[in-house]
Amino acid sequence: MIDFIKENLILNDPLIVGANVSILLTLIAIVFVLTYFKKWKWLWTEWVTTVDHKKIGIMYIISALLMLFRGGVDALLMRAQLTVPNNDFLSPQHYNEIFTTHGTIMILFMAMPFLLGLMNFVVPLQIGARDVAYPYLNNLSFWSFFFGAILFNVSFVFGGSPDAGWTNYAPLAIEGSPGPGINYYLLGLQVSGIGTLLTGINFIVTIIKMRAPGMKLLRMPMFSWTTLITSFIIVFAFPILTVTLALMTFDRLFGTHFFTLTDGGNPMLWSNLFWLWGHPEVYIVVLPAFGIFSEVIATFAKKTLFGYKSMIISLVVISFLSFLVWVHHFFTMGGSAAINNVFSITTMAIAIPTGIKIFNWLGTLYKSRIQFTTAMLWALGFIPTFVIGGVTGVMLGMAAADFQYHNNYFLVAHFHYTLIAGVVFACFAGFVYWYPKMFGHKLDERLGKLSFWFFAIGFNVCFLPQFLLGFAGMPRRVYTYVPEDGWTALNVVSTIGAIGMGIGFLILVYNIHYSIRNAKKETTGDAWNGRTLEWATTTAIPPHYNFADVPEIKGIDAFWQMKQENEEKKKKTITYRPIHMPNNASTPFVMSALFFVAGFGLVFELWWLAVIGGIGIIACLLIRSIRSHKEDEGYYVTVEELKKMEQPFHKEA
């Protein structure tokens, strides 16, 4: 046992040891604070066991911001290493671990939870629902994501991080990687993937079945539409990842031969299956982002979204095409000209509906009244920046040219342009936009704008030179280069930009702290003169039951319409009925912790630990399956409580 710990605790790298120590100190500080202020029970009942979609959404977003910090530090370390040639700041092994964790964390543990968090918080409010269709599953989704992420992050301090890239190609990931690192990757992603799949199912049912009366699908806000389409992509794509990860887990742990070099395995099958999931995955993150932009742009341009139906059609076309382009990730693997041709065409085709959306946003801004709030700046900054990512994507999609672009910095710049300008800008825009609804006050506008300019300009300074680095022949994932390559100047510029991005992020975090102390409290639920239903709650932060009186929807931009007919609303009288709410749930937390235990056991091939975890998981499943309806009836919000909470805002019959 002692040997096991000694062999795996990483003590030889000062950077890692320093990080370990700070993590340990932070944990101790958190435990101390919770104990000193006697907040353990509060933490358990209000947050850990909550089934309230709003709180679950906030927990997702907090996790995402923490992971953004870690992924960002990874990025800054990489940039530091690459600034000058022949740099030995990071060893090749360490560098490989860093870019692997950077990619995996940013996509799966930052972008996904950030967007899932926003979807969780906003969508039920936007469609006038009480909560999601399966609140218990929602809690399970969050905790399985959380423990999967913890499992992945533990690799950093214990055993060694995965180091085969976020794409984890065979045979490097199997024969080329003894050690637990890749196992962490396979199991961490597997556990957190469970949560994502459940969320996809949850939102499909919620949106189809639980909309407010009168809210036909074609009257739904755009963010809810993107959530619906994204959920369909999740449900169809994530099982591919589940199976693929499981197959490689079997290869590594149990001696099967799906992707091995020998005994009939085929390493190319991993690339094929991984990207069959991987490409829909990037649309899973970008479509909700598009939804956020639609909301923000319409709100701060004070104009209804241009081309609502066309936007929906393009969403559907994108989601359909997203399953037909995956081979463009390995044009150079030796496929026939026919295959590369077909996938070139599908890849370039997917730019068409995306372009339609850009023009529709421009159409929304046309003859509007643009207010440059922080959220709007993020959305406006997205348009010109993302288009660069989009057109370079079309360039990459031309397979014959891709033979030169593949795996070099042109590709790296392209996907950062689409992912950061598309997804990260949207996460920040959505965060600033819905912040008053989550916490009851706005983020400071001045600081917000400052963080935007630092981040957006820094981003362009960081990544625009990388297109040129690609043309100069610099491949990705190299840990250093020689002066004769001629890449130094561009790398220096790129690092300067990265520092700008880091400053922008720090200002954003400081803004949170500053606003808690200094911002005015919101008095209404309508911080921005919004157009959609989530702004129609009676209080700044919605009550846990969302709406005591679910309004009748008469059109798109339901709340805006309601405000136009303001007089009728004021005179309305309401009869309160008791509201049936679900109970808190503690089993998902325990089950997810057991997933962690089982996963950890599998990572280190400690079969006894894995079996114990597995038995525990099955026990939790049985507990819930057998008990649920008989004993878990939920509770009722009584009419008296409702009257007290709603009284200042409505007259009673």
Binding site: F232, F236, N272, L276, W326, G334, G335, S336, A338, I339
Partner: protein, 99 residues
């Protein structure tokens, strides 16, 4: 929405469906690894077992027969079939073209 059905009987359908799925999976593994059949026969049998298992799952615990929204059901079945064909046939085509 909270469903206020009365207390349920034991979920027989789910348990039987689960056990059948496990059995069919083991059968497929046995056919693939031990039965000593010619290659093409194995492929065909495994596919047949897969379709049977999909049908069992759809009917026994995916509630395919319930629910009013017929148009959604048809749409979802077609989408799922489309995706499955793209994945399987697409993978076969792609991997065969790479020698």
């Amino acid at each position: 929405m909270m469903d206020s059905r009365k207390s349920n009987p034991f979920p027989w359908m789910q348990v039987v469906g689960f056990l059948l799925s496990v059995a069919l999976t083991f059968m497929a593994v046995w056919i693939g690894m031990r039965a000593g059949l010619p290659y093409n026969t194995i492929i065909i049998l495994v596919f047949v077992l897969a379709f049977i298992q999909a049908a069992i799952q759809l009917f026994m615990f995916m509630h395919i027969t319930e629910g009013a929204h017929g148009i959604w059901q048809i749409g979802k079945m077609l989408s799922a079939a489309f995706i499955a064909i793209v994945i399987v046939a697409g993978s076969v085509w792609v991997l065969n073209s790479m020698h």
